[in-house]
Every structure is written in C-alpha cells, then in structure tokens.
C-alpha cells in the first residue's frame, strides 16, 4: 500500500467512513431471506383464493347456468395450474405463520410461559378441526 492515495470515497461529514449499499437482490443471498420473501408473496395467492371464492358465490347467486359456466372455467388447464401454485403458497403461508405464532403470542399459565410447541400445536389442531368440519359438509350423503 502506498502512503499517498487520497482517493477515499466521500461520505457527508465523515469522508473516510466506508459505506456499503444493499443490493436489490439481497433476498437471494440466504435461504432464510428467500423464505421470508416467499412468505410475503404468499399473501398474493391468499388474495387470489378470496377472489375465486367471491366469484363462486356470485355464480351461485345467479343460478345453475352461471354456476355450470363457473365450474367449466375452473377446469381450464391454466386456472388449474394457477390454483395448484396458489394451493402450494397458501399451505406455505399457513405453515410458516403457524410456526411463527409463539414469537408473537406469549401465553402464561400459573405464572409460567406455555411452551412454544403447545401454541404451534394448538394452531395445527384448530386447522385440522376446521378442515374436518369442511370435509364433513363436502362428503356427507
């Protein structure tokens, strides 16, 4: 290193501090960051399922012909593919958020904090219970 290279980059008030800039692609650098971004994107697919549900209710209210057209639209390969991707993201959304609930929810019983896995398990149990009720409506004779 030579002694006289007055080329240090200028930063306001502190000309000699070196500052780095965060890359636009920072979220590709590490798997936990990518997982975070995927979790955030999953909300778009949750919204998509809400839209599908609303369209379904509208079709239902317009009578059997409209509902048949809606079902036909659902069978479109593009829509099936989109719904499969959306299903993956919605499950990813549910699992990642369920696993994070103990961070935000502190439940105390008799002065002691309820262990994290109990809170996570309670979420999964509620999910299973709701799914069973829905399944019962769908498959009952």
């Amino acid at each position: 290193m030579s002694d006289t290279r007055p080329s240090a980059r200028y930063t306001e008030y502190h000309p000699r501090w070196y500052r780095t800039h965060v890359s636009t692609w920072w979220w590709l650098a590490r798997w936990p960051y990518l997982k975070f971004i995927l979790r955030e994107i999953s909300s778009v697919f949750v919204a998509w399922f809400v839209v599908v549900l609303l369209l379904q209710i509208r079709a239902l209210s317009r009578g059997p012909d409209a509902y048949a057209r809606f079902e036909h639209w659902l069978q479109n390969p593009g829509i099936v593919l989109l719904n499969l991707i959306a299903l993956f993201f919605v499950v990813f959304h549910a699992i990642t958020w369920f696993n994070l609930t103990p961070r935000a929810m502190v439940v105390r019983l008799r002065g002691k904090r309820v262990p994290d896995r109990w809170i996570v398990s309670a979420n999964y149990a509620a999910w299973a219970a709701v799914s069973l009720v829905v399944a019962w409506f769908l498959v009952r004779p």
């Binding site: 240090a8 000699r16 780095t20 965060v22 936990p32 960051y33 994070l100 103990p102 961070r103």
Partner: protein, 249 residues
C-alpha cells in the same frame, strides 16, 4: 507448525484505500481457537496494523461481533475448527450495514442514539424514599423480562436485519428488545413514554418479521418476539385510546 487455516480479512485504511479489499493470512489451527484468537495471532505475530474491537473473550462485552463467512457472529464464540474441515478460507468482515471506520471496526453511534431514545432504564412516577426499602419482585415478575435483559448490545441482530440495511431509520431489534425489557419490568412505570418512540413507523411497524435477528442472537434474547409482542400491545393501546374517555388508562 502443524495444520494451518487461511483467513481472508477485509482491510480498509481510510487514509489509503478507496474501498476495502481482502487480505489473506495463514494461521495455525488449534482445537480450542476461536476466530478472535486467530485475529489476535495475526495482530501479534503477522501484521500489527490489523484493527478490530474485542474485550472480554467470553461473550459478555459484545465488542467482537463480525461477519464470519457472511454470518453475523461473536468471534470469541466462533470456533475455527468448525470452519477448518472443508479447507476453504474463512472470510472475516466488519458487521454488515454499519459504516466502516477501519478494517473490522464499525461506527455504532446510530445504534447508541437509538438505544437512548427508547429510555432503557427504570422510570418511576414517584420514587419512594430509601427508608421504605427496595422495590420487590417475584420470580414470575422477573421471568417476564429476564430474557430481554440478556442483550449485550453486540449488534449481530442489526447485521442480520435487512430492514435496517434498507431503511436505516428503523430503530432496530436490540433497541426494541431492550425497551421491552423495561416495559415488562414490574418496577417500571415508563411504558407510555417509550410508546411515542416505539409505536411509530420507524419503531415496531418498520419490522416485517424476517426473524433473522432472533436466529443470530448469541444470548437468545429473541428480539423478533419482543417486536411482535409489542405490536400487539401497541394495537390494544391504540384501540383503548379510541374507545376510552380521555385520561383513562
């Protein structure tokens, strides 16, 4: 000398360099050596100009936080032998997102002023006279904040937080966890004073819950948990202030 391991240390001399560059050093591998031991070996035996912060060597002072192979680590608690296996050099860099003063030393005034802004001390409405004795606390009351009190201000959580990197006005994980340490303390009466700082966009609402602060914390403080729990508290307080008559708490 038996086995050696290469360290690639980021060097930056403000007087000479336009930007930092890696310098490679070979250091002996000892089973009980941590990255900080290797840095001290370099400083003592190879290159006295290498600059870095350290003090206690036992995970208490919080001075020796650096990036080791891209991960924020306390170098006094990161064993070289864990990296020696694959034979590739270990990269040591200054903590991410902070301005670099020299080599591995970063500028932390930003954190110090943020920490002060959340008033991390016991705030009392009325101080009772010493003659009336101590403010007593049960083990359960201690348990509510003890985890957050373990913070050593090592700033690994800031180096793990992309929100802080992208938006440096964010108060950040450690400062919020330490605010919660006092908010949750049964002897403290300052929660409403801290709320002005915490319940704003630069405070808890800047956090998008990446959660990496909790993962890298060497003292298991769980700053991500502290922030999410405070989001709940702040929301409840906000609804209360809408619903309740003025002055009611």
């Amino acid at each position: 000398m038996a086995e050696t391991i290469s360290l690639e240390v980021l060097r930056y001399s403000p007087e000479h360099d336009a930007e930092p560059s890696f310098q490679r050093y070979d250091v002996p591998v000892h089973k009980d050596w941590v990255v900080l031991d290797a840095l001290n070996y370099i400083k003592d035996k190879v290159d006295g100009s290498l600059t870095f912060r350290w003090s206690c060597r036992m995970g208490i002072c919080g001075s020796c936080g650096m990036m080791v192979n891209g991960e924020p680590k306390l170098t006094c608690a990161t064993f070289l032998s864990d990296y020696a296996r694959d034979g590739s050099p270990v990269r040591v860099q200054p903590l991410r997102y902070f301005p670099v003063i020299r080599d591995l030393v970063v500028e932390i005034t930003d954190f110090m002023s943020k920490l002060q802004s959340v008033k991390p001390w016991l705030i009392r409405g009325d101080e009772k006279p010493v003659s009336e004795g101590e403010y007593l606390q049960t083990p359960d009351q201690l348990d509510r904040y003890k985890q957050f009190s373990m913070c050593i201000n090592c700033l690994l959580c800031y180096a793990a937080c992309p929100v802080y990197g992208l938006d440096p006005v964010f108060i950040g994980p450690a400062a919020i966890a330490l605010a919660q340490r006092y908010n949750m303390d049964s002897r403290d009466e300052g929660a409403h004073e801290r709320m002005d700082v915490l319940a704003q966009h630069e405070g808890i609402w800047g956090c998008t819950f990446v959660g990496e602060c909790t993962q890298v914390c060497p003292k298991h403080v769980d700053p991500a948990g502290a922030i999410q729990q405070y989001k709940l508290t702040a929301t409840i307080e906000r609804f209360k202030s809408f619903l309740m008559p003025r002055g009611a708490k």
